[in-house]
Amino acid sequence: MWKVGSIALGVAMLAGVGGAYAQSTTAEVWNYYAAGSELAGMTALIDQANAANPDTKFVSKVIPGNVVEMRRQLQTAFIGNKPPAAYQTSMASELKTFVDGGRLHPLTDVWAKIDGDKIFPEGIQRVAKINGVPYGLPFDLAEINNIFYNKAIFAKLGLTPPTDWDGFVKTCDALRTAGIEPLGDAGGPFWSLYNFYAPLISTVGTDGYYKIARGELAFDSPEFRKALELYRDTEVKCYAKNWSGKSWTQTADDLINGKVGMYGMGVWVAGYMKQAGFKPDTGYDTFPAPGTGDKAIFQMDLFAVPEGTPEMIKAGEEFVTTVASAKAQEAFATNKGSISPSTEVDPSVYDVDFAKFATQLATASKANAVLPNLFFLLPTDVGTELGNQIEKFAIDPSDATEHDVISTLEAARQKAMADNAYTSW
């Protein structure tokens, strides 16, 4: 009798559990924000989505690494026909590859519901849409054309933030004379490339930047060569000794410790420095890299919804709808330490330096000078090659390397043109 009762109780409990699950859908949100302020930001987003959608249980699943590891994991998920409800991705070409592969669900209905054309600036919409159709929901934006500087060192040497390349080189000379390495950089295919955008824009302008993105301006053109040479004569000349052997956080430590005077890096470095106790009001400040004073070059993460079961697509749409809300965007930006791509977020929510970055974005947006990261505008193969070749040039800026870099990049461009891989952003 006792046994029968136990079994009946067990069955009832299982039925209860089953019933509980039947009432709510569990939907995975894949992302690569695993620790620190990034994790705090993602947790805040997931909490907001769960609060706004009581019938769906959103669960964060961390894919360690970055967008490359995410691709690997998604590939397996697509083969197994079990993609997540939504996943973190990058903009432009990254989205396009998945759209061309028939893997992404268009967010047209969500976009209309949230009034996406109104709340996101034009430059941002451009890389969230493929052929005019929205496929990504922007949530995490960071400018990459600012130079951070150590305020105490600048004050001690009587230096002011330079506004043009001549002033920049003079600032470097003054720092070097004082025994301080002028400009920090870090090894890897991204950081030197992000630094290179300023000399590139100074040379080819915004139009030229987009021409490169569309494959219309050749890498062996006089303009691109001139940009490389401006980069060599300015930032490369100023780079600290042994920069290529450091990670971006190690170089941030050098700025904090006063070993380098300036550091060209995405604004996420501000979060790292603040965690280390180096404050924006007393420790560091920023200025736009010469040639980009009125512009905002940005890197951005979005959420995409893969094609899947109707239930998962619905959950994915619910999630990105919540992410688009001003409340969720604010929660993410303030927890992580980034800028919301949405104009609905009140700039007063940011601290002193992120308020400055948000103003920079808003000003550039009004002037139609918000430029997406070229790395992601280019076809993936060309963008990755550009990153590697610019790093190679920054390590060894000789004429021979310049020749190699140009011929390698032009070969990659020609191949991408033949494959029809370029897009008119």
Binding site: G188, S244, T380, K392, I395
Partner: protein, 305 residues
């Protein structure tokens, strides 16, 4: 007489059936997890596929031909060959040296055994994290120590100089993997019959002669194991390189496995990545097959004895 033969035959066939039955599972596993992926990879290498699309385009041997025109590919092949030479000589030689020293009955032998073997138990990603800090070029452990002992001029941009990075990585791998060869050699030395050593000693052989003329030849089975595994490690080298440098700076430390990963997932070119892995398989086969052939000959010889 006539009834015994069919019974024997039945027994023979039933025994054979049992043997075959026992072989079914391993063969099935081998085909599923080794043969099928190789065939599938070769099939993919003949396609133009980004790994995301639902369809592929057959392009024949184009991926193989393209790779043969890429300096980047040959640089990775050269790096793999350099790693092969290093792994056959470096950790193997140091492991043998440490084992020989410890075999002489030093005080605290047990502690040394643990200390030598401990790094080998650390996962590759953790090794990479440790050595990224050791190799930090300004205030990393190695540069700091060199500065303290007055050898600061020898400090390098360990992971950032294309001409230095591979040697730096080899240093980290030496620290990490020597423990394995040490342990195998140490066990081998402890298994050498004491009579052989004693006989040589009575005959007046010096310790050096005893090691080279008696111990080392008797260590041949251990040496074969260590060299074989080192060769395999050189061919499948990925984790420590990827986690420390991502194959950089500017491809300088790239090996075939890291290039394959970058091309597959960093560039969306699954076809070309598969072609790289087929080339890697051929290279690994060329390096490892003679070893396997030698080993099978030895097994046959020992069975004959």
């Amino acid at each position: 007489m006539t009834s015994v033969a069919p019974a024997r035959r039945r027994f023979y066939f039933s025994q054979r059936a049992v043997h075959l039955l026992f072989l079914v599972l391993p063969v099935l596993l081998f085909v599923t997890f080794f043969i099928y992926p190789i065939i599938s990879t070769f099939y993919l290498s003949l396609q133009d596929w980004d790994g995301i699309s639902k369809s592929m385009k057959f392009i024949g041997m184009a991926n193989y031909v393209e790779l043969l025109h890429e300096p980047r590919f040959f640089h990775a092949v050269l790096n793999n060959v350099t790693w092969l030479i290093f792994l056959l000589l470096g950790p193997t030689g140091l492991g043998l040296l440490l084992a020989a020293i410890l075999d002489r009955g030093l005080r605290g032998e047990r502690v040394f055994r643990i200390v030598y073997f401990l790094p080998f138990t650390i996962p590759a990603v953790a090794v990479a994290a440790i050595w990224r800090w050791v190799y930090e070029p300004t205030s990393g452990l190695l540069t700091t120590v060199l500065n303290v002992v007055g050898l600061g001029s020898l400090a390098q941009n360990w992971l950032g100089d294309p001409h230095v990075v591979n040697f730096a990585l080899m240093g980290a791998v030496m620290w990490w993997m020597t423990g394995f060869s040490f342990l195998v050699f140490f066990a081998g030395l402890r298994n050498i019959p004491v009579e052989c050593i004693e006989a040589a000693r009575i005959e007046g052989a010096t310790p050096w002669q005893i090691f080279w003329k008696v111990s080392f030849p008797l260590l041949w089975p251990s040496t074969i194991v260590v060299l074989g595994i080192s060769a395999v490690d050189a061919m499948r080298l990925f984790d420590v390189v990827w986690a420390t440098t991502n194959g950089g700076p500017a491809y300088a430390s790239e090996v075939l496995a890291t290039q394959m990963y970058d091309v597959a997932f960093g560039r969306f070119d699954m076809g070309r990545a598969s072609a790289i892995s087929v080339y890697l398989l051929i290279l690994a086969g060329a390096v490892i097959m003679p070893y396997l052939y030698y080993m099978s000959l030895r097994v046959q010889a020992s069975e004959a004895e």
